[in-house]
Amino acid sequence: MEAKELIARRVAQELKEGYIVNLGIGLPTMVPKFLPTDVHITLQSENGFLGMGPLEGEPQPGVVNAGGIPCGLLPGAAIFDSLMSFALIRGGHVDLTVLGGLQVDQEGNLANWMVPGKMVPGMGGAMDLVSGAKKVVVAMEHCTREGEPRILKRCNLPLTAKARVSMIVTELAVFTIDDGQLVLQETAPGISLEQVRASTEADFVLAEQFHSMSVAA
């Protein structure tokens, strides 16, 4: 299974019936595809609505996702302004957000919005999402393209938010951050503990229920 699909499938398991969920761009948007049919979630889009669905038929005026791309509105959707959108986000009304990451560290700090001197796109809504969502899941590949670890003792890129990450899902492993400690919960099928150690700079402990990731093919 391709790394991204594996990650998306595993993240999907974190989405529970009735959850209000905000998905970052890129990999996170793949997650709903892998939801069990008996789990119904509501997708929040930070440009101002709840009830985002896939585009079906012709694009409708104003019905776009936070990337400005035409999408669908499911029955029961609700539109609002940006003030309400971020009141929902910051106020803990979003149960879970899934975002990509550049770096995460063992204290639950996340860096995903800029690389000084290289890439300064702006934080958009990411800082609010990470500060406000009840559960913050970072979905990313375990290492950079150059093979450098992304899960660090201490992020060296500018932070998006401090100590707010609840879970990290990569193609190698699942970590949680519990009481300020990084905990290895699962390794991916066929991945050894040693492989995870070799690709991870951060200190971590093994969960009591440490086990192998279970994802349907």
Partner: protein, 218 residues
């Protein structure tokens, strides 16, 4: 009172050095006719305040490309490489503000509030130069009000009094910026008579809107 005006009345409203609040998110909900009018006005040294600089030819992108914007206060510039290039070249000042903080600051500016305490940005570069307060054991940044000389708004429909209705996610920043500018101009797709919009369905009350102009077919 009839607030519907002709396009010819719009250009003269724009002057060098003005601050402009604009609606829209990636260009959706941005009044493109008003952006074009700003472009044609050649008003320079503008400060643009809104969610993002969209792309070079969408949203407020043309005002970045033309060099009329000397400063932008936005949450995101990543989709418009022109903004990034001009920033690096020192041709435009970019003040990046988290999206939820930006909309709260604009609301403060329009609501008579002196500021708001938000957890967003605590422990990040966003907190630089800001007062930090602790409330019930949690740290917050004091974020200050933002206002502008003019707000340019896109709505679906207006009545002649200036009551506005937005369509879908094109609503975004528009109802909030309507509160925070000295002059509020709305570009609309449709004008109806006073009384045709149910009072419960008004999304921006006429009291906040100074001028309404009908979108040209683009």
């Amino acid at each position: 009172m009839n607030k519907i005006v002709e396009w010819s009345e719009i250009g003269p409203l724009f002057r060098d050095g003005m601050s402009i609040l604009f609606g829209g998110f990636m260009g959706v909900g941005t009044p493109l006719g008003l952006v074009a009018a700003l472009h044609e006005s050649k008003a320079s040294r503008l400060t643009l305040i809104g969610n993002d600089t969209a792309a070079p030819t969408t949203g407020v992108g043309p005002l970045v490309a033309s060099g009329q914007a000397s400063k932008v206060i936005v949450s995101h510039i990543g989709t418009n490489p022109m903004t990034g290039r001009k920033m690096i070249a020192g041709e435009i000042e970019v003040d990046l503000v988290p999206q939820g903080t930006l909309i709260e600051r604009i609301r403060c500016g329009g609501s008579g509030l002196g500021g708001v305490l938000t957890p967003t940005g605590v422990g990040t570069v966003v907190e630089e130069g800001k007062q930090k307060l602790t409330v019930n054991g949690r740290d917050y940044l004091l974020e200050l009000p933002l206002r502008a000389d003019i707000a340019i708004i896109k709505a679906k429909r207006a009545d002649r009094a200036g009551n506005l209705v937005y369509e879908r996610a094109a609503r975004n920043f528009n109802p909030i910026i309507a509160m925070a500018a000295d002059l509020v101009i709305a570009e609309v797709e449709e004008v109806v008579e006073i009384g045709e919009i149910d009072p419960d369905m008004v999304m921006t009350p006429a009291a906040l809107v100074d001028k309404v102009v009908l979108s040209k077919e683009l």
